[in-house]
């Protein structure tokens, strides 16, 4: 008896003397109040905090948001933590992040009514090992973007899967210094899209069963225009064959079903060491912006592109979209690489350097359309490749949140 009492008092003393550091809060568990509990944690988070979402299924009816810098939102794993927005009645996205130095990781988000995870003006953002999926498959009524960083500097998307987005699965817009890698985009209208952005590396991803696999666009009438310096390499761009299901009006509604990589406007884009197969319109489509515009800052032409050292399987055998009417005159199919041949806009003609450095048997066509907005009756196709130029490749992207641990600690 005495020894028990002694032990108890020792324990009590130990407890009293233990450092005042608060116990690590348990991961959030599914409950009737889980939404309010989680949103409260997000509101009251301090920089450096990790907010853990536990295993199980969370059914939320409103969007979540984070405005505190330096927070990690961490689930128990993509196959353990599921956050469903099937019954969402408010907000335009599942999770909105507007603060810097944030990491989101380790969960699957299902069926957001609008966008999945949006980060706006959020520098040094990391999306890692998570999924955003629309469980009903590719439907026009699905939300637009799966992961959606915009107006941000230093964006890392690593190990992310998006399925079913009615615009782009993985979309990076109006941002600078970007890596999208080790990710999977399937059954979206656009698999991965880099838009009005600068300095991006898109590598070691799989883009399959989208309407278009990987897109690099530059559009007028946005605050940031003049996209440039993107490298697309070591990707598997295969069997992009889901009929385009984008709601009309959206720019991606113009992506022909079965475009592997589609490059529109933009400058200094390098596509190399990718594997292309079974993309029914064509593997690489190079395009000018083909609508009227008034934005005096904007150049609608693709300039300084290099397409080299890719592997091409079958494709181009069933062209879709705006160019499809040209196919019969070309024998019913399109070659591996298609350029619209536009060099003139608003009365100005530019030398457009499109370098094709591929084996001789890799097909190429210059449609010779000349002027944007295009008129298909003006097509003047040619299979002659353009002259080769040395176009310096942009350096590899380095992100502050992506340094090896050793380097981070300075050891």
């Amino acid at each position: 008896m005495r020894s028990i009492l002694a032990a108890v008092s020792v324990l009590a003393l130990a407890a009293a003397c233990s450092p005042t550091e608060p116990a690590k809060p348990a991961a959030l568990a599914p409950s009737a109040t889980a939404y309010a509990d989680l949103q409260k944690l997000l509101i009251e988070a301090r920089p450096g905090d990790t907010i853990e979402i536990g295993e199980g299924r969370f059914d939320f009816t409103d969007g979540l948001s984070l405005t505190v810098d330096g927070v990690t939102i961490k689930g128990a794993g993509q196959d353990k933590t599921f956050i469903s927005f099937k019954g969402q009645t408010g907000a335009g996205e599942g999770l909105l992040i507007t603060s810097d130095n944030v990491t989101v990781t380790g969960f699957t988000m299902e069926d957001p009514k609008g966008d999945g995870i949006k980060s706006k003006g959020a520098d040094n953002i990391t999306y890692k090992d998570l999924k955003v999926i629309w469980t009903g498959g590719p439907l026009t009524t699905n939300g637009a973007y799966g992961v959606y960083p915009v107006e941000s500097k230093n964006v890392l998307i690593d190990g992310v899967t998006v399925s079913g987005a009615s615009d782009a699965g993985i979309y990076v817009g109006q941002s600078d210094n970007i890596i999208v890698r080790n990710s999977r985009a399937e059954y979206n209208v656009a698999g991965i899209e880099i838009e009005n952005s600068t300095n991006a590396d898109v590598h070691d991803n799989v883009a399959t069963h989208n309407a278009g696999g990987i897109l690099v666009f530059d559009l007028p009438d946005l605050p940031k225009i003049g996209g440039h310096s993107t490298r697309i390499f070591n990707n598997q761009v295969v069997a992009n064959d889901t009929p385009n299901f984008a709601p009309p009006g959206n720019i991606v509604a113009n992506v022909p079903t079965g475009a592997g990589v589609m490059l529109m406007a933009n400058q200094n884009v390098h596509v190399f060491n990718n594997t292309f197969d079974k993309n029914q319109t064509t593997h690489v489509l190079i395009y000018g912006y083909s609508f009227e515009f008034k934005d005096a800052r904007y150049n609608p032409l693709p300039r300084d592109f290099v397409i080299r050292d890719n592997t091409y399987g079958e494709g181009g055998n069933n062209p879709q979209g705006r160019l499809a009417p040209l196919a019969p005159a070309l024998g019913g199919s399109l070659p591996a690489i298609v350029w619209d041949g536009v060099t003139t806009y608003n009365g100005k003609t530019e030398e457009v350097r499109i370098v094709i450095r591929e084996k001789p048997e890799v097909g190429f066509i210059n449609l010779g359309l000349g002027v944007t907005p295009i008129d298909l009756t003006k097509a003047n196709p040619s299979t002659t490749r353009l002259p080769d130029f040395e176009i310096a490749e942009p350096p590899a992207i380095v992100l502050p949140q992506d340094k090896p641990a050793a380097a981070k600690e300075g050891t």
């Binding site: 409260k40 969007g63 915009v150 107006e151 817009g173 605050p223 709601p247 009006g249």
Partner: protein, 376 residues
């Protein structure tokens, strides 16, 4: 005997400090010397018209109850305390037909500086108070009106913050609610339509979605243009603010917004509606800056406000339309489609309403219909 005078004497003896009256007659006290709890105790002991508590306003953390601020002299917040001045706006954001009661507090001896565009430059310690309320029948909004939430925008030393307070059912206390609130409200609309409203009080982050400008948190409503009319005091509001000493720099002729209910030209009224309902996000630095769709009254580029502008990230919000505004064709315009929707992911604004605003829809429809169609 003047109760407040008596109370002041008690406080003076307790504090051993001189209290003073400012030029507006409200009581000022050196609260900075006191711990909050002690102060609350002293004031509670007085139980009279204690007045606004500047120390509570400027504290690091939100007070747990709305009444802690002393902004009102009754528990139901119908009677503003000394120095708290009701005001209203020429045009207001549509919030599911809620009535809104606004008031401003500027610390004694200070004044807001007039701004030609943008919100008045309120000094640190200022509070903008907005209470959302419903009556059983909004055709008679004052009858049996019930307060739902009161939002405080407080100008702290390091910037503005938003604190939402949700009222209890009895209307006797509003409690700080950082995670917001949802409730079902049944009422009859100003047009006589029976409504069941899924009303959302925003959480603190949602406050920021509308109130952000770049990295700053800013008020939206009290701009010169939107204050410049005869307010609830029955006099010209800006001149009244100047006469009360809470506004300086008022020019002889201040800008005024077109009331959406006036007989101003349709373009002016429609753009005034878009300005107060949309432009807090749809402007450079706002929450929707990346869209390039800028809906403030002073946007000069027609493409900027949507004429033949293609959507950026609308998704199914496009409603299968090609342009934000197709001149002459309201039903082919994404802008109208999105304000006519109540569906998340389509509806605009994204926050603050679960119903459509028939007034705004009529204005935007008529405005787009009045535009000459673009030649094919």
């Amino acid at each position: 005997m003047d109760f407040s005078r008596n109370c002041l004497d008690v406080l003076n003896s307790l504090l051993g400090a001189g209290a003073c009256r400012d030029r507006r007659g409200s009581v000022g006290l050196p609260f900075g010397r006191l711990a909050l709890a002690g102060m609350a105790f002293v004031l509670a002991a007085c139980s009279g018209p204690g007045g606004v508590r500047d120390a509570v306003i400027l504290a690091d953390d939100p007070a747990p109850r709305l009444s802690d601020y002393g902004l009102f002299s009754d528990v139901s917040a119908r009677e503003p305390a000394q120095g708290v001045l009701p005001y209203d706006l020429v045009n207001a954001l549509f919030s599911d037909h809620a009535a809104k009661h606004r008031a401003v507090y500027v610390p004694k001896g200070m004044a807001a500086a007039y701004q030609e565009t943008g919100v008045m430059d309120f000094p640190v310690g200022s509070v903008l108070i907005k209470t959302f309320a419903f009556a059983p029948d909004m055709r008679e909004p004052a009858k049996d009106e019930r307060y739902v939430e009161t939002r405080l925008l407080i100008h702290k030393a390091d910037g503005w913050v938003a604190y939402p307070y949700v009222w209890n059912a009895e209307g006797t206390e509003a409690v700080y609610s950082p995670v917001g609130d949802k409730q079902v409200i049944k009422t009859i609309s100003p047009d006589g339509e029976a409504l069941t409203i899924n009303y959302s009080a925003p959480n603190r982050n949602q406050c920021k979605e509308c109130h952000s400008l770049g990295d700053d948190f800013v008020p939206i409503g009290p701009t010169a243009r939107n204050l410049n009319h005869v307010g609830p005091q029955g006099v010209a509001q800006l001149a009244d603010w100047e006469a009360r000493g809470i506004l300086t720099g008022l020019p002889a002729v201040a800008a005024a917004a077109h009331s959406i209910r006036s007989d101003a030209p349709i373009e002016d009224r429609a753009r005034a509606w878009l300005d107060i309902n949309c432009a807090h996000c749809h402007r450079a630095g706002g929450g929707a800056s990346n869209s390039g769709l800028f809906l403030a009254w002073n946007e000069t580029n027609p493409t900027g406000w949507g004429v033949h502008k293609r959507p950026t990230a609308a998704g199914r919000g496009s409603g299968d339309n090609l342009f934000v505004i197709e001149p002459g064709h309201p039903d082919e315009s994404i802008l109208l489609h999105r304000i006519e929707s109540v569906e998340p992911g389509v509806a605009m604004p994204e926050l603050g309403r679960s119903l459509i605003d028939p007034v705004g829809i009529a204005l935007v429809r008529d405005w787009i219909a009045s535009m000459p169609p673009v030649e094919p």
